[in-house]
């Protein structure tokens, strides 16, 4: 690890001002991803600004009925928060199915959104990688790409976005609250994640020194009937091969409301809008579910070893919808 200097700040203004003034600085929150990336020379800030003393750890009710997760709230605290559990079960499940108990105690929810990809070539400073070193090429295209994305890819990058929480937030239309040198902003979660396109090094629309202060969950009754399913190579402590976040209500045998997002298969947490269009108002039957899964994965592009994710993605979508429908039927 390169030498670094360290500052600890206790208010948001100083945190932003300090990082904004120094292009070689970075915020330090839980550190679970950042310290690792520092150690392997993938990220090389010269100064870390420790923001763990900032008052951004609360989970608060919003006036309109939503919930605000403080940016520095820990994954474990948000997961076990009774209101989150009751009103947004998919958020709790996405958090508890990620990482390990130790990491969840450390990692903040804002850091979870900002985490970098786990593509082995991104993490290997000897390998060409357009995300880490723009213009050097993508080693994953013809390389070991079993874990890589089939949706949202470009000719420059096929790295899978690793966040589970982000997938649930995408299904819920969460809003990311930021504060930076130019003031405060509210960024819809779908805009907060950028597709790689020709600039895979740019993952978020944030400026240097802009801080994620909170994540707003909108008031959404259907979210109380939601879940997060994660398929992976081992049962625990592993990234997703495919994950599905689903919220659904059924009335008179037809799907009244549907929110569907995918993880493990795309370059950003993926809102399954094609599937949602098929499902909206459709009979809650296996035929509808299969049609929706086919529609969503029709746009998938395999890259050799990851081709299995297309079929696995379809099956996981169908399973998630089937289980939700059964639960709705017995409710």
């Amino acid at each position: 690890m390169r030498p670094i200097s360290y500052s600890r700040v206790s208010d948001v203004g100083t945190a932003i001002g300090t990082v904004a003034a120094d292009p070689h600085s970075a915020f330090l929150a839980g550190g679970t991803n950042q310290v690792d990336l520092l150690r392997i020379y993938v990220e090389q800030p010269r100064r870390l600004v420790d923001i763990n003393d900032l008052p951004l750890k609360q989970v608060e009710e919003l006036p309109g009925g939503g919930l605000r997760l403080g940016g520095l709230a820990r994954m474990s605290d948000v997961a076990e928060h009774p209101t989150v559990r009751r009103r947004y079960p998919m958020v709790t499940e996405s958090l508890l199915l990620g990482a390990s108990p130790q990491l969840r105690h450390m990692a903040s929810v804002a850091g979870n959104l900002m985490q970098r990809v786990r593509c082995t070539y991104f993490r290997d400073t000897e390998a060409p990688c357009n995300k880490r070193a723009p213009g050097t090429g993508c080693s994953a295209m013809e390389g070991v790409n079993r874990g890589h994305a089939v949706l949202g890819t470009s000719e420059c990058c096929i790295a899978t976005h690793p966040s589970d929480l982000g997938v649930a937030l995408m299904a819920l239309d969460a809003v990311v609250q930021t504060e930076g040198p130019a003031g405060q902003r509210s960024i819809p979660i779908d805009d907060f994640y950028l597709l790689p396109g020709r600039t895979p090094e740019r993952e978020h629309p944030l400026t240097h020194g802009e801080l994620v202060t909170g994540i707003d969950l909108p008031p959404l009754p259907v979210a109380a009937r939601s879940r997060y399913i994660k398929i992976r190579d081992r049962e625990s402590y592993e990234f997703a091969l495919v994950a599905v976040a689903v919220a659904m209500s059924v009335a008179g045998g037809r799907i009244a409301e549907i929110r569907l997002a995918l993880g493990g298969v795309a370059t950003k947490p993926w809102r399954a809008r094609a599937a949602e269009r098929e499902l909206d108002g459709a009979p809650a039957t296996p035929e509808s579910f299969t049609r929706a899964a086919e529609a969503e994965m029709a746009g998938a592009t395999p890259h050799g070893m990851n081709a299995f994710k297309i079929e696995l993605g379809k099956r996981t979508i169908v399973r998630a919808l089937t289980e939700m429908a059964e639960r709705e039927g017995s409710a």
């Binding site: 300090t18 690792d36 763990n52 108990p101 130790q102 805009d191």
Partner: protein
């Protein structure tokens, strides 16, 4: 971008105290005692414990947050010392495996690991025990499935898992917590 309006502009000037990159004085409270050392800010809590404070109980396995051998408690919560910068732990309470026993009396979980033969090579054991004690405090040991899930951050390459679970069940049941289901 959409209607992202600037609401307030109040960044303070760069007024934060800069420490490092050379060695700086850091005080850590470890196992109830304040320890003073001179370290660079990049030094992990794991390296500070082992190399500066001679607390070798906490083990370095993967050094990248994958194995759990370095599990310690910061402010009573189990965390990974390899991904924690030591300097960030000032004003926090650190507990390592060396802080678990009461004098010569082992912590019940340490004793249970001995009695249940819950290790072979022993390298992961300090991390397993720190995690296991925290697991019971967190209340996630109702049955074996839950123990498996909530101990998944601690790998054991000797695969002593059944005996580790036995040790945890024993302490759980002795503590009169949730009823045993096995």
């Amino acid at each position: 971008m959409k209607s992202h309006q600037a609401i307030r502009t109040a960044p303070a000037p760069d007024s934060a105290v800069v420490r490092g990159p050379d060695e700086v004085e850091v005080r850590l409270r470890v196992n109830g005692t304040t320890r003073r050392m001179f370290i660079e800010p990049r030094v992990s809590l794991l390296d500070a414990l082992r190399d500066r404070l001679d607390l070798h109980g906490t083990k370095k396995g993967c050094n990248q947050g994958a194995c759990g051998a370095c599990t310690v408690w910061v402010d009573r919560r189990r965390v990974l010392a390899c991904l924690t910068l030591a300097i960030s732990c000032e004003n926090r309470e650190i507990t390592t495996i060396e802080g678990l026993a009461e004098g010569d009396t082992l912590h019940p979980m340490q004793q249970a690991f001995l009695d249940a033969d819950a290790f072979q090579c022993g390298y992961c054991t300090p991390g397993q025990i720190m995690s296991a004690v925290a697991l019971l405090t967190e209340g996630h040991a109702r049955d074996d499935d839950e123990i498996k899930e909530w101990m998944s951050g601690n790998l054991c390459r000797c695969a002593a898992y059944p005996h580790i679970r036995r040790a945890i069940r024993r302490v759980r049941d002795e503590q009169g917590g949730e009823r045993a289901s096995h």
